[in-house]
């Protein structure tokens, strides 16, 4: 019986080491919840304070002075806040486990996320310059979803499901431009929070 215990432990150790060495696990539900809260707050400010709620695809003058600049800066701020929170959180988690947050795994995760994020980001900036403001919300959802779907290979599997949710919301919102901001808030806000709570209780 002593021997059986030993072999079962061997298998358990092999399995955990395979996962730990191939997937970035230093991400917690908290970072997701916080990102969701920032996004909801941002969407609310854009809507109530800056009166931003595009209901058409095309806006003739999105340049400086149109109020769009404020929304642009606001979204940049949300992005920086969400990124900073998740980096800080990963750093703490990794430290707790005696690992480094900046390792082969996190580099691989970031490299695989950045292809869809950077190409999507540039595309969206170009579309903004053309005045296609109505496409911003759907396309941010779609490209972020693609990045998450990719990331699912290199971190928790649930990230992949979150990616599919974002892509689906993005595609739906393409057909309902007038609800763009609302659907964006559901994707970046609500979905993140639900995901975060789920991950917090599961892991």
């Amino acid at each position: 019986m002593e021997a059986e215990k030993d072999y079962t432990r061997d298998i358990a150790e092999i399995r955990s080491m395979m996962e730990r060495s191939s997937k970035f696990m230093s991400l917690s539900g908290w970072a997701g919840i916080m990102a969701g809260i920032y996004a909801l707050a941002g969407a609310l400010i854009a809507w109530k304070v800056f009166d931003f709620n595009p209901d058409e695809l095309f806006y003739k003058n999105p340049g400086p002075g149109s109020g769009f600049r404020n929304v642009f800066l606001l979204s940049g701020l949300i992005l920086v806040l969400a990124l900073a929170t998740s980096i800080f959180d990963s750093f703490l988690r990794a430290k707790k486990r005696g690992e480094k947050a900046w390792n082969v795994l996190s580099r691989r995760l970031i490299a695989n996320m950045s292809a869809p994020l950077v190409s999507g980001g540039i595309l969206i900036l170009v579309l903004i310059a053309y005045g296609l403001i109505g496409l911003v919300a759907p396309l941010t959802l779609i490209f972020y979803g693609l990045a998450l779907y990719n990331a699912g290979n290199f971190t928790f599997n649930e990230v992949r499901i979150l990616g599919i949710v974002q892509i689906t919301l993005g595609l739906i919102s393409l057909h309902m431009i007038q609800y763009g901001l609302l659907i964006w808030a559901v994707g970046f806000g609500l979905a993140h929070i639900v995901y975060g709570i789920y991950m917090h209780y599961k892991h």
Partner: protein, 102 residues
């Protein structure tokens, strides 16, 4: 040291070597420092276990330099993959038969 009984390989008797093989099985190439981080062992200890696996021709070693720092990367050979898979199968089988005993 090429003894293998029912798929169990002598080289995997050591816990560290078994864990090393697990890490290498899911990573194409991995460097010395990353291995050290996972295993929490000393440089000398890790090096001697790696040398043992290299002697069995289970792992390949690639030496290069990043600036002036040596950067050694390890990966599994075909033999290593087979031996590790056989070892896992043998482990599973053993646990299965023990479970079925009253």
């Amino acid at each position: 040291m090429k003894i293998s009984v029912n798929g169990f390989h002598k080289a995997f008797d050591s816990r560290i070597r078994l864990v090393l093989m697990s890490i290498l099985a899911v990573n194409d190439r991995i460097d010395f420092n990353s291995l050290k981080e996972y295993l929490e062992v000393t440089d000398g200890n890790l090096a001697s276990h790696l040398k043992a696996l290299e002697k069995e021709e289970f792992i390949m070693v690639e030496k290069s330099f990043v600036g002036k720092k040596p950067n050694t990367k390890y990966s599994l050979t075909k033999e290593g993959k087979t031996a590790f898979a056989d070892h896992l199968k043998a482990l599973e089988k053993l646990i299965e038969t023990q479970k079925n005993q009253p």
